[in-house]
């Protein structure tokens, strides 16, 4: 409130008052954590719009949104968990494990599609329960717990489909709901689900008591506990959420592609963390937003597809992402945007 003090003694012109107001507005904009990644996405989109001829074509839109939607859904769960101060490295394998179980039950064993889906998601959730219990009961870093789970699931995935791929040709209501094209648009159902899920979790984080507790748990466990926040329960619930969303997103991918291999979701654990961090979520907990992670996922997808469009080999994009990630984190640390962890 004291930004005009240096102008004391000068005639208070309208322009200086106007400047103060603009400054106050700019400062309040800085509090919007999604601003920086949003501008980044805008820049990337502009760049590819100018550099390529077919960036806004339906095919490109389909490609970007289908990649981004599933990563974003996984990233939303990972973001919740990261804000509460934990990691989940098993989401990528869960992203394959859940649809594989679903497809095996539903396609091969002929179990009712809904029951099969519920069973598969139940298993995904169980993975989260185990991650949460092991981490909180034994007090070990979730990095290790979920790395272990990563390998456990990878092994199970190998065992379940032994190098084959599962293909589903027959139309079914569940797969339609999770992966169908939306009318004649270039967009598919995962996009709709992503918007719904992001909105729900945005509401949870910012408008529910639970959200308050998630931030407090990851921010500083000591005071949070002292204030009566059930930090252990918050972490456990977030592990389950993260696993469930990863499994659900995997089922959407399967429904969209009509096929699943054990390689589905490879690197997704890292891409989800990357999306979250690009979107402003702190690696140290206590800071982050759902929409930031969604924007982060779109950044990843846009760069991936855009680079292909300008003729860069498809597999090269991760190199670019790696560089971007490090730059963004350096910028965040420099700007002190990761909160009081330096203090």
């Amino acid at each position: 409130m004291s930004y005009n003090t240096s102008h004391k003694g000068m005639p208070a012109s309208i322009s200086s008052r106007g400047r103060a107001r603009i400054r106050a507005f700019a400062e309040s904009l800085l509090d919007v954590r999604e601003l920086a990644p949003g501008l980044g996405l805008l820049f990337v989109v502009l760049f590819f719009t100018l550099q390529t001829e077919n960036f806004w074509s339906p095919e490109t839109m389909t490609a970007i949104s289908s990649v981004a939607s599933t990563i974003a859904i996984v990233a939303v769960g990972v973001t919740m968990l990261m804000i509460s101060g934990e990691f989940d490295l098993s989401v990528g394998q869960n992203f394959a494990f859940t649809p594989i179980v679903w497809a095996l039950l539903f396609v091969s064993d002929g179990i009712n599609q809904w029951l099969a889906l519920i069973a598969a998601l139940g298993l995904a959730g169980t993975v989260g329960v185990i991650n949460g219990l092991i981490t909180t009961v034994f007090g070990i870093p979730s990095f290790i717990t979920t790395l272990g789970m990563f390998f456990v699931l990878e092994g199970l995935n190998n065992l379940l489909i032994t190098g084959h791929q599962l293909i589903m040709f027959q139309p079914s209501i569940t797969m339609w709901l999770l992966g169908a094209q939306i009318g004649n648009t270039p967009f598919y159902m995962p996009l709709v689900w992503m918007v719904i899920i992001a909105f729900v979790f945005w509401f949870v984080l910012t408008h529910l008591r639970y959200g308050n507790w998630v931030f407090a748990t990851g921010g500083k466990v000591g005071p949070a506990k002292a204030m009566g926040v059930a930090t252990i329960r918050v972490k456990r619930i977030n592990f389950v959420m993260s696993a469930l969303l990863a499994g659900l997103a995997g089922c959407m991918q399967f429904s969209y592609l009509h096929t699943v291999t054990q390689g589905q979701g490879q690197n997704y654990e890292l891409l989800a963390i990357t999306a979250a961090v690009l979107g402003g979520t702190s690696l140290f907990g206590g800071v982050g937003t759902v929409w930031g992670s969604v924007i982060g996922a779109y950044l990843l997808a846009t760069i991936q597809i855009g680079l292909v469009l300008i003729g860069v080999p498809g597999s090269f994009y991760v190199t670019f992402i790696g560089v971007l990630l490090v730059i963004v984190v350096i910028a965040n640390v420099r700007l002190g945007r990761f909160g009081g962890n330096q203090a």
Binding site: R209, G211, F215, N341
Partner: protein, 275 residues
């Protein structure tokens, strides 16, 4: 130990007139012949200590004198090995700090007062959020909490943040404690426990924290606090309790001796401890 004058640079003033603590009332908290041992090491020997509502009791003594152990017993972090606790006339046993909190005993620690990344209003209401219940959902009443937090901290004159919507990481150690004390008053705490609230604070900040302590007393809270710095203890304490090797060796009432005499007494004692 500090041998600085009572009124440092005239910055921390000693209010001369203050209503005496009404000790005919029911005591707020009472320790009756409390002893505590850590394994074989006896830390507290047969301590009797009473805190009345609206009274500020300062616990002073050298490192290892047992101040922190006593505070932990008050806060429910430790169960004494022997002796009994009475809170508002009833015998109590705290098995957890949460139990003590539920009765209105609020411990404020400098580094545990606040979650840096949360905005001020979220910190203020953390764990005691005002919510609308809709089915299983507890929806935060954000506008109301924002407004109430704004009003409550308005008197603190916080200068480092622009609004209650901002994360509190910009707040200084003193401001954090002032916020925490204000929060305790707001939520109707009865006894406030402070562990070295003025350690490593500037003069101005110390004054603010002491003002918050006075405000707590004005709201009829009992305050028990540990401090090393006599010049911080004297302006606000109604009673100074000197601990040595786990025993209370001296209790000095504000009315009993003048401020300067008191300072001298403690300084002499402290000198002896300092060697």
């Amino acid at each position: 130990m500090s041998r600085s004058p009572v009124v440092a640079d005239g910055a921390i003033s000693v209010p001369e007139k203050r209503p005496a603590v009404d000790r005919t009332r029911e005591p707020l908290f009472e320790l009756r012949s409390i002893s505590h041992s850590y394994g074989r090491n006896k830390a507290i020997f047969d301590v009797n200590l009473v805190v009345w509502p609206g009274e500020v009791v300062a616990l002073v003594g050298d490192n290892g004198a047992g101040k922190s152990t006593l505070l932990k017993i008050f806060a429910g972090y430790l169960e004494p090995t022997s002796g009994s606790l009475r809170f508002m006339g009833e015998e109590v046993r705290f098995r957890t700090p949460a139990r003590a909190r539920a009765l209105g005993i609020e411990a404020v620690y400098q580094d545990l007062a606040i979650v840096d990344q949360l905005s001020l209003w979220r910190n203020f209401f953390l764990g005691k959020e005002i919510v609308h219940k809709v089915g299983p959902l507890r929806i935060l009443r954000r506008r109301r909490m924002r407004r109430e937090a704004e009003t409550a901290v308005a008197k603190l004159g916080l200068t480092r943040i622009r609004s209650v919507e901002q994360p509190v990481l910009a707040l200084s150690g003193g401001e954090r404690q002032s916020v925490a004390i204000t929060r305790a008053i707001y939520f109707g705490a009865k006894l406030l426990l402070l562990d070295e609230p003025t350690a490593s604070l500037s003069v101005r900040e110390t004054r603010n924290v002491l003002a918050s302590i006075e405000r707590a007393r004005d709201h009829d809270l009992g305050v028990l606090y540990i401090d090393h710095n006599m010049s911080h203890v004297l302006p606000v304490a109604d009673r100074v309790v000197l601990l040595e090797h786990g025993r209370i060796v001296r209790t000095i009432d504000r009315g009993e001796v003048g401020v300067e005499e008191l300072q001298e007494l403690i300084a002499r004692r402290a000198q002896k401890i300092d060697c």
